[in-house]
């Protein structure tokens, strides 16, 4: 942001102070993530930069923690990753199906008690996770679903649907309903209209809601801590145990992989958001 030439000196100083503050805040936000990356290649078993690393000695870097993550003996990460992906994928499918259908109903102007129902539907997002965890645990224990994949998937559907409901209702708020009426007048039945007209138009919203649901499930630890048995361990649970007991560099290798995954998700989400804005004609 260039200042006009006539700016008075003290405003000029203020402007640079403001830019410095902004720079510091951005640094505070993003820098912690980049500490993990180099340390995960540490050849030693410490979580601080060795002298070799500071002088960029190639011997000070190694892939041993990545090897340990994949091939290590009695290693929990393989099972954890498998569980995490299975649970997150099923939870995402469930959340997207239930959430999208509900959002379609909620966006109808005929919907009775809209405010109240909306409040119930997004309550899992507002209620602190610890309380959701306790409540869901009581339900799953009674239903005999504690320490099962099914139980955890259901729990994550509960936590994931609010995101889908919100993103899809937001997409539908800019939706031109005359296109569905046009389709109906041309003889299309409602299911066909939904599949061929509505769904392609709201798809960006559905997918970005699905991404939220996926990340929520993939990153969720509070509820899983109550529900999971040894068999159902997930990546967040393993990280939680690792961080509590002893910080080993293997965790940093896992964390690096997770950062790469979140970067991919961020890029997808951004592309979808732009596409959705273009489709809805909000592009400025």
């Amino acid at each position: 942001m260039a200042l006009p030439k006539y700016t008075e000196p003290h405003y000029r100083i203020w402007h640079y102070i403001y830019l410095t503050i902004c720079g510091a805040v951005f640094f505070f936000l993003i820098a912690p993530l980049f500490v993990i990356f180099p340390l995960s290649f540490n050849a030693e078993e410490f979580l601080s930069f060795s002298d070799g690393m500071k002088s960029l000695d190639p011997d000070a870097f190694s892939l041993r923690w990545y090897k340990d993550m994949i091939y290590g003996t009695k290693n929990p990460w393989g099972l954890a990753a498998k569980n995490s992906f299975i649970i997150a994928i099923f939870a995402t499918i469930g959340s997207v199906l239930l959430g999208t259908v509900a959002a379609l109903g909620l966006s109808s102007r005929h919907m009775p008690y809209k405010g109240l129902i909306m409040a119930v539907l997004i309550s899992p997002m507002i209620v602190p996770l610890i309380i959701s965890g306790v409540a869901i645990f009581f339900f799953m224990a009674k239903a005999g679903l504690a320490a099962t994949h099914t139980g955890i998937v259901l729990a994550h559907i509960i936590l994931g649907t609010p995101f889908v409901v919100i993103t899809v209702t937001a997409t539908l708020s800019g939706f031109d309903h005359s296109v569905t009426r046009a389709a109906a007048s041309l003889g299309s039945d409602p299911v066909n209209t939904f599949m061929k007209i509505t769904l392609p138009l709201i798809l960006p919203g559905v997918i970005s809601g699905g991404l939220f649901a996926f990340v929520t499930s993939f990153d969720e630890v509070v509820v899983v801590l109550f529900l999971a048995g040894l068999e159902n361990t997930t990546i967040p649970i393993q990280m939680w145990t690792g961080l509590r007991e002893q910080l080993s560099p293997t965790i940093l290798a896992v964390a690096t992989c997770l950062i790469i995954l979140s970067t991919l998700i961020l890029v997808t989400a951004e592309l979808l958001r732009r596409r959705s804005e273009r489709l809805r004609g909000i592009n400025r």
Partner: protein, 417 residues
């Protein structure tokens, strides 16, 4: 419609009004049917269980069911002096049954909640009861330990007679019902929960303030920069937002440890001595720093989306009418951002007040919050009714805030980046 005006009929001969109402009703049902699966799913798996928590938090049937005869016999006891033989005999009968089922340990745990000192005397009673002779149980029980001859302990048992109790809620506020049935606070040095509630509020409040102070300038910068720069900077906000909470907490654990980079830096610039590195983790500082960074995107995004809608010409108009940039900012720009401030602050506050993972990892003993206490009772002491009571106390606090949020911003206005 008055009877004189001619009714408008549809082609089927039905009055238009009726036909429209019918169509309207059909549409309502259709819309509701779409919402129904999710609604019922959530009601069964989520709303009812929260109701179940409410029930558990006041449920006190356990002792009532363990000592049915004793409580029946106690109905005629005035509680002034030691109960008579009838109560002792009933208690003995109940107790023998509990010992047979190996449940006397549970009874001692439960009674110990009401009054300390039951654990040992119940153990002694179990051993002695094997040699009890029939009749005159009062003498025999009182001979086991002098506390059995103390009327206070019998009053403590009597207080457990009702099936429902609010004592878990009182315990959550460090209060209890004393011998005279009055609600009093526990001694000063045992008030752990009040300290936790206050600390939770304090940390949530200051984290919100810090987030606001940091988010406002960068949201402003993001909203005023040209698209191609702001998109790049937006990544700095969105990448942490999408990154796993545990990864971000781990990075703070690395940064804040005593041999960590932040301490290295402080030593390097000569702020602290190398042998006197400050403890920045496992205390409140750790909770503050890590929670502020983790919750910052939740403040930036609502602020940004509001600031994006403010036209830059308003500031120019303010300046051209003679205001200095500061006056123009304060009188024109700032009031327009208030909806974003409200949304961001309440969002961050609600999230912070229920935080669990980060304080548990970097907060140590002095930086943990009420959520950690709830988890502790769920997983370690297994006092689920107490965990439920505290959870509901926290929930009611959050609902008040949520209600305010709805009043000020409206729940439909939640934006997710």
């Amino acid at each position: 419609m008055s009877s004189e005006t001619k009714q408008i009929l549809t082609t089927d001969g039905i009055p238009l009004e009726v036909s429209l109402k019918k169509a309207e009703k059909k549409n309502k049902i259709k819309a509701f049917l779409l919402v129904a699966p999710l609604l019922f799913f959530l009601i069964i798996t989520y709303v009812f269980p929260i109701g179940d928590m409410l029930f558990r938090s006041v449920d006190d049937k356990m002792v009532t069911q363990m000592l049915p005869k004793t409580f029946k016999a106690m109905e005629n006891w005035d509680g002034q002096e030691l109960p008579d033989e009838e109560v002792f005999a009933a208690f003995h009968e109940d107790f023998i049954k509990l010992v047979e089922d190996k449940r006397e340990g549970k009874l001692s745990t439960q009674l110990n909640y009401t009054k300390n000192g039951f654990k040992s005397i119940i153990k002694k009673l179990r051993r002695a009861s094997k040699k009890f002779e029939e009749g005159n149980y009062k003498e025999q029980i009182m001979a086991v330990h002098k506390r059995w001859a103390d009327v206070e302990y019998w009053r403590a048992i009597q207080r457990r007679a009702p099936e429902f109790t609010g004592q878990k809620y009182l315990k959550g506020m460090d209060m209890y019902v004393n011998e005279e049935g009055k609600i009093v606070s526990v001694e000063e040095d045992r008030r752990i929960h009040r300290v936790l509630w206050l600390r939770t509020l304090e940390i949530a409040f200051f984290v919100t303030v810090f987030c606001f102070l940091m988010a406002y300038p960068i949201a402003h910068l993001l909203a005023t920069l040209p698209m191609k720069y702001s998109n790049l900077l937006m990544i700095c906000v969105l990448l942490p937002f999408w990154t796993s909470l545990l990864v971000r907490t781990a990075s703070w654990m690395i940064l804040l440890q005593q041999q960590g980079i932040v301490n290295d830096f402080f030593v390097g610039i000569g702020l602290v001595a190398d042998d006197n590195r400050p403890e920045m983790m496992y205390n409140k500082t750790g909770s503050y720093v890590a929670m502020t960074q983790i919750l910052l995107p939740f403040m930036v995004l609502p602020l940004y989306s509001v600031m994006k809608t403010i036209s830059p010409s308003l500031m120019r108009a303010g300046k051209s009418l003679g205001g200095t940039p500061f006056v123009a900012f304060w009188k024109v720009y700032f009031p327009l951002t208030i909806p974003g401030i409200g949304a961001g602050c309440l969002l961050v506050f609600i999230l912070a007040i229920g935080y669990y993972i980060t304080p548990a990892l970097v907060g140590g003993a002095s930086g943990t919050l009420i959520s950690n206490q709830i988890a502790f009772h769920m997983k370690s002491t297994l006092d689920w009714s107490f965990a439920s009571a505290m959870g509901l106390m926290l929930l009611s606090g959050v609902l008040v805030i949520y209600w305010l949020y709805n009043k000020i911003v409206g729940i439909d206005n939640i934006k997710l980046g």
